[in-house]
Symmetry: C2
Subunit: 334 residues, 2 copies
């Protein structure tokens, strides 16, 4: 669906909120998820934007989904805070815990936020950006569903396990990256299938565990991690850190929990915050700026650049969206 119209941010927030509330989601979750999806849409991350709204119907129909979730942070230690998402959307639980996370890291230098039992909401970068807005370094990760074979394997075991990182910069938007640890996203592979195009070598395996460039075979078989055995190891680390370490499901268990409902994955989410002031002392910011200058000196872009450019355009001209998608959302608003 090409983006062919531009609308003000508030109109899109209202559209998303109306949709969610009309299906019985409580207001706190509705506001939180609408904000996250519109943020992604605003920054040109269309795959993580409003096109996710229709799919939330499947998630909200999952027998365990909780439209009335009202999560609250629980302090586990001076460094650790936990929020049980109560089987609602994870984003509200993460937001409800983020002030405590920031408070802990700002006091003793490091903090950990464990979000449990949340249905996957959208990208992680809006959350790590909020940590960076408090002058802290943010790191986040979560499992998904067991679509990805480990390096040397033949079958799905690991999730697409995204990793997001934010580094605060004075007077500038933070350095932020957020990507799946699979070679390509599931959406990208599906797009190739829908367009009748082959995918590159290295994206996935067929049902027999053999390399294939047929996207349909990969979707029925197994995706591959990015970067060979190294990416596979990092995806495994994420599986462990955002799974058992925080007492939550891994990708295989999340997929079992779905039980064919085609809901969003339901799992934990790990957020870490670090205080450069406490850990590194004076001059941390200037040190990092020398690194970023080394990127621009050689014409290498920083990973968040495109999002920030889109954000500026959206603020000036409105947020790009597909009129067909708008129509679909409106027609499905109860």
């Amino acid at each position: 669906m090409p983006t062919d119209v531009r609308l003000p941010e508030n109109d899109l927030l209202a559209l998303a909120l109306d949709f969610l509330l009309s299906h019985g989601l409580n207001a706190p979750q509705g506001h939180s998820l609408a904000r996250m999806l519109v943020d992604a849409q605003r920054d040109g991350s269309f795959s993580h934007g409003l096109q996710r709204l229709p799919g939330t119907l499947n998630t909200m129909k999952h027998p365990r989904f909780n439209r009335h979730a009202d999560p609250a942070p629980e302090s586990v230690s001076p460094a650790v805070v936990r929020v049980d998402a109560q089987f609602g959307f994870s984003c509200l639980a993460a937001e409800r815990g983020i002030d405590a996370l920031i408070g802990k890291a700002g006091t003793i230098g490091i903090g950990l936020l464990a979000v449990n039992n949340g249905f996957h909401s959208t990208a992680l970068w809006p959350l790590v950006e909020r940590i960076a807005a408090a002058g802290l370094v943010g790191l986040s990760m979560n499992p998904t569903h067991a679509w990805v074979a480990p390096a040397g394997g033949t079958k799905g075991l690991l999730g697409t396990n995204p990793l997001a990182f934010a580094w605060p910069r004075k007077g500038k938007p933070p350095y932020v990256f957020d990507f799946a640890t699979s070679a390509a996203s599931r959406a990208d592979i599906a797009m190739h299938r829908n367009a009748g195009r082959e995918i590159p070598d290295g994206w996935g395996l067929n049902g027999q565990g053999e390399c294939t460039t047929d996207p349909a075979e990969v979707l029925a078989g197994a995706m591959l991690p990015f970067g060979g055995h190294k990416g596979s190891a990092i995806a495994t680390m994420i599986e462990l850190m955002a799974g058992p370490l925080i007492g939550d499901r891994m990708s295989r268990q999340s997929q079992d929990f779905d039980h064919g409902a085609d809901a969003a994955p339901c799992h934990g989410e790990l957020l870490l915050a670090f205080s450069p002031d406490i850990i590194g002392g004076a001059g941390v910011g200037e040190g990092a700026e020398r690194l970023f200058a080394g990127f621009s000196d050689q014409g290498a872009r920083l990973p968040g650049d495109r999002r920030y450019r889109m954000r500026e355009v959206s603020a000036r001209d409105g947020i790009a969206v597909s009129s067909a998608l708008l129509q679909k959302i409106r027609s499905q608003t109860a």
Copy 2:
């Protein structure tokens, strides 16, 4: 140098210690570095083993190197401990801080150890293994020298920036990985050059920032990160987290600091420890074992497997080493 003899561990420890002490290194550093290098040799990580001993002469001749370093941990907060390596080898400083790190993580769930001003010693996995031996999850990273171009760039800016992770397992050695975030190690590229062989596409760039398969051109030009823009982003994160975040040099500054001495890189090292008991509660271990079972079910190996097999053989038959290297070390022992 092929490994053609096997010697008992204690003989190799004595050999390495004699070498280091004979060049004026104090006993605490000598014992620590000898232990680290013999551990690597024992586990078949020959590139990080005893072959590094002759090169320590260059490091110890660096005008800022401190043969008398006697680092001590300083508690920064209930979560953070710092050890100034005092411009000696980093391994002693890391060891001197690791008990405090484990104590903090064991008390409040997470701990951070910042090692500053250490000359690079060898691999990181022996350190994260020690964290795992205490029942904690370990993570470590450091910059090196600015040999690696960022994705989309043309010139060295990032280090080969290793990342090491350990997950404790009951009754089994931990799950451990440790790898450079460059596509290949510098030693591997040099080996290709010495053998007159081309390197694969994607390992590096020539002095003009163009792709090349000539290893000599890459060593004079720039290496590339593993996994394209994702690996590049992770290498950048390591540069920031184990650099400015802990108030220490990044790879570019470490290289400037070397000033042609051809010493080991001098930089900071970040270690994190997490307590599954405090953060995740009961059942963490069983959860993780389900993941590891998913590897063996499909014949995928865990990253530490080869090291553990070599360790068993070394314990039974002695540690493999090259007689030519032994001779070189003995002839250079003052």
